[in-house]
């Protein structure tokens, strides 16, 4: 590769380097790698159809090398083109392969040349377009156009039927308005049962049974604010207690009317035997 490029650097090598430096200086002014190649081809001062592709490739690769040594950050397309050109160059030096799948080096060079010529044609067209008389610059439309107006007349497509229907709709809405059931914050008997069983299990024991405990102490703390909830807790807990009595797991005692209600857990038969066994 190095040998190849050395072999190519025959005449005007120094000029080429200067040119490349010029290009690098104005890199912002160029519109991509083909634009650079077009600029390099123009320097050959020949018909673009007859440019020396090899010379072009060498100059471009030189350009990339110089950019690298200067730590210039080049856009991806510049590097893609460099890789393509390096490949083209190696193909141009290799003997023609008998591979129908791959385009020949000549075809590739032709494609490159076409690309450059097409871009040149487009750049020229852009210039010619810009050189044309332009509206508002050389050619003028009416300076004070009266304008063509569209007068939009709105007519309301509303019948008496619509009006009455709308009134009917309000009445209907009143009748069929949704009624949301208020959600009431209460403790269910099921919840109370679970809670009571758990709490009874944790009570200090006295012999086989737990100590007598007032129903009040089974109440939740901090619920005095919600009267309905605290009432439901009391009622549900008592109901759950009665259920446990029925199951033979609990005893309830009250000394008299309006006196505190006491509860204590009693071991069920199986447990009692276990305890006795110990």
């Amino acid at each position: 590769m190095m040998q190849n490029s050395a072999a190519l650097q025959d005449d005007g090598a120094q000029n080429a380097v200067d040119e490349v430096d010029q290009l690098l200086l104005n890199i912002e002014g160029y519109e991509g790698p083909i634009d650079i190649l077009l600029e390099l081809s123009r320097a050959q001062k020949v018909d673009l159809a007859k440019i020396s592709i090899l010379q072009l490739v060498r100059q471009y690769l030189e350009f990339i090398e110089r950019a690298k040594t200067r730590n210039l950050e080049l856009a991806a397309e510049y590097l893609v083109m460099a890789a393509w050109l390096a490949y083209l160059k190696s193909r141009l030096f290799l003997p023609q392969e008998e591979n129908a799948e791959e385009p020949t080096a000549e075809e590739m060079a032709e494609a490159l040349q076409f690309q450059i010529r097409r871009l040149e044609a487009m750049q020229k067209s852009a210039e010619r377009l810009q050189a044309r008389p332009q509206l508002g610059q050389e050619i003028f439309g009416r300076g004070a156009p009266e304008g063509l107006e569209v007068d939009i007349k709105t007519s309301w497509n509303v019948s008496l039927y619509d009006l009455l229907k709308a009134y009917g709709a309000i009445e209907k809405r009143k009748e069929t308005s949704n009624y949301d059931l208020p959600t009431i914050n209460v403790m269910s008997t099921e919840d109370a049962m679970l809670r009571l069983t758990r709490m009874l299990g944790n009570l200090p024991r006295k012999g086989m049974s737990s100590v007598w405990t007032t129903l009040d102490s089974f109440m939740l703390e901090d619920i005095s604010g919600d009267r309905l909830y605290s009432c439901s807790v009391l009622a549900s807990t008592f109901t759950a207690g009665l259920e446990l009595v029925k199951q033979g797991k609990l005893e309830i005692r009250q000394e008299g009317l309006f006196r505190p209600v006491y509860m204590r857990s009693i071991p069920v038969r199986g447990e009692a035997q276990d305890d006795a066994g110990k």
Partner: protein, 229 residues
């Protein structure tokens, strides 16, 4: 003026004048035209010549207080704008508000909201007023002296009613099925039947003593906004 202007042929002077007057955004005085025309051009004569050429045309060259400009012929001006008829439907909110005003007038906005059960967007009344169908009535002599709304003659015209008395009453509407709970075309079994029959129909008279609710302006009337946008 500039050198190239000298090159232009005498014959083209009138063409240049024509182009200048055509392209200028403002009427040009004779002196302004002189400045823009080649030296020695008889601007005054050319102007009259040009005016003559355009005399019977769709565009005239007018002398507007000493300044010259092309203007489309006056007799054609009405043809420059075309009318397009656009048919519009009222939003549901506007329709309902209009109906309530029609039946309960004079009625305050708070009362309208109370009947509809939703806050009334300010734009709803604006739209109806713009259409010329409602107008502000007297202020109610109560706390805050709220404005009342009434319908207009244009409203009666549109619905070809001779007077408000011609509006069908509640009983008539009911018998016409307009107050029927069921939609005109029943497609889905109504699931709200659970609470039907709880409320009795209120008569028009029965609604006059509605308390004035708070004037909150919740933006619930999207449909109207869309229609306006």
């Amino acid at each position: 003026m500039s050198e190239k202007n000298i090159e232009i042929k005498q014959d083209d002077h009138i063409r240049l004048l024509e182009a200048l007057l055509f392209a200028s955004s403002d009427p040009l005085s004779t002196s302004e035209l002189h400045e823009r025309m080649p030296e020695g051009a008889d601007v005054g004569g050319l102007l009259l010549e040009l005016q003559d050429i355009y005399a019977g045309r769709g565009v005239h060259l007018l002398d507007i207080e000493g300044k010259w400009a092309f203007r489309t012929a006056k007799d054609l001006s009405s043809y420059l704008s075309i009318e397009k008829q656009v048919q519009k439907k009222l939003s549901r909110a506007a329709m309902e508000t209009l109906a309530i005003i029609a039946y309960h007038q004079p009625i305050t906005r708070a009362e309208i909201e109370n009947i509809r059960g939703v806050a009334t967007h300010r734009g709803t009344l604006d739209v109806l007023m713009e259409m010329g169908w409602i107008k502000p009535g007297r202020r109610r002599e109560t706390l805050g002296r709220p404005l009342t709304w009434v319908t207009t003659t244009a409203f009666l015209d549109h619905f070809t009613l001779e007077s408000l008395m011609d509006l069908p009453g509640m009983d008539e509407m009911k018998s016409a099925g307009l107050l029927d709970r069921r939609p005109a075309i029943q497609t889905v079994a109504n699931q709200d039947d659970l609470f039907s029959g709880q409320k009795t129909m209120e008569s028009v008279e029965g609604l006059t003593h509605i308390s004035e609710g708070e004037d909150s302006e919740i933006d619930d009337e999207f449909s109207l906004k869309e229609a306006k946008g």
